[in-house]
Amino acid sequence: MDFKTISFVILAIILAPLAGGLLAGIDRRLTAWFQGRFGPPILQPFYDVIKLLGKEPQVVNYWQIFCVHMYLVASILCVALFAMQADLLMIFFVMTIGAVFMVVGALAVPSPYSQLGAQRELIQMLTYEPLLIIVFVGIYFVTGSFKIDAILDYERPIFLMLPLLYLVLTFALTIKLRKSPFDISASHHAHQELVRGVLTEYSGPYLAILEIAHWYDIVLILAICSLFWSTSWIGLVILLAVTYMAEIIIDNVTPRMTWKWMLTYVWAVGISLSFFNMALLYAKSF
């Protein structure tokens, strides 16, 4: 590792939560605007997290503390791996470990809300993980590598070759952002569903840590999205802005769905879209 990579990694670890929090603030403001309200200040997510950090630590058992920290470490590691331009599959596995630890922490508590939320979270993971793998395999077919530096070296935007797979990736983005219609385990913006689903039994500073880890996750998924137009900055910014705007609009116009609907719909649509995209790729190469 040379000096440039190390500085990249440090910069990413510091800037990612700031960007994630700011994004969450803008998101809340826009959502309020869509609903005809004024909305909280842009810095609201930071106020929330600082307030939570200053509250009394209250846990039900040790597992919660351990799991929360493992989730945070895994999320930071993912962002660091991305900044190091490591392997996409490696990042995927580390991300999964973090998500699993959050579920384990919720399952370690006898509260029925937290248990039910954890099981729903597992189903959500079951929904988006195969699709994420398919997206990575699609990227591999185009660029010939899972390494991010090789993907960045590819001379055309891969969005042009994989438009349908990008749509599939946005399903995973919606689930990771905890947005409607896929917010069945715990919803964004502190809406009430199953009390708070997986987050019910985490409180005070531990909830703050989960929130920070969530910001890292959002930044990571958006970074993966940005790989699809890595050739020019303007294209990248436009692609991300349009994607996020679409997410907010979908969040506001769709109701929450059941897990059965989510699983069948996302798998059916996602897998057929990826199939078409792959067929298109092969048709082009002949």
Binding site: R28, R37, P40, K51, A190, V195, S203
Partner: protein, 174 residues
């Protein structure tokens, strides 16, 4: 140190999360509390969220009178909230028992069971008065420190385990 303390105090004032508990109210006050969330009053612009979980909440908003049955539930919810926390009693019923104060099963206002920081009068209280009450409660909450915990965490967890094992004795309804 001063900088971080100030930051914490501003954050506390800017992000109060409420939990609303209906302690046997006639629903008049409940509807007024919910009215605060509509676009007309839009309390989210002050960072106020109505959150359904005592473990995440900072301010307990209670409407209605206390009777021997729901006193247990009220106390339980209050105990689940991590410090620092504040309590607001809403309506004539919440503050003193209101029109029901002489009923055979009514203990009186919320302060018969838990310490109350702010009393919001009215039957029902206006949404503006409720928002005012939250602002008053925030003034009190701002400088409050979590109580010094002398017990080690292990003892706490042991107590929690016992508490869970005796859960059947505490059930409000059987």
């Amino acid at each position: 140190m001063g900088f971080f303390q100030d930051l914490l105090h501003t954050s506390r004032v800017k992000s109060p999360w409420l939990i609303h508990f209906d302690c046997g109210s006639c629903n008049g006050c409940d509807i007024e509390v919910l009215a605060c969330l509509t676009p007309v009053y839009d309390v989210e612009r002050f960072g106020i969220l109505n959150i359904g979980n005592p473990k995440h909440a900072d301010i307990l908003v209670v409407s209605g009178t206390v009777n021997p049955r729901n006193a247990k539930a009220l106390k339980n919810i209050y105990d689940q909230m991590p410090d620092p926390k504040a309590v607001i009693a809403i309506g004539a019923c919440g503050t003193s028992g209101g029109v029901f104060r002489e009923a055979y099963n009514v203990l009186g206002g919320i302060d018969k069971v838990i310490p109350v920081d702010v009393y919001v009068p009215g039957c029902p209280s206006k949404p503006e008065a409720i928002i005012d009450g939250v602002v008053l409660a925030l003034e009190k909450l701002k400088k409050r420190r979590p109580e010094k915990d002398t017990e080690p965490l292990v003892a706490d967890l042991k107590k929690a385990r016992e508490f869970y094992e005796n859960r059947e004795d505490r059930q409000v309804t059987r």
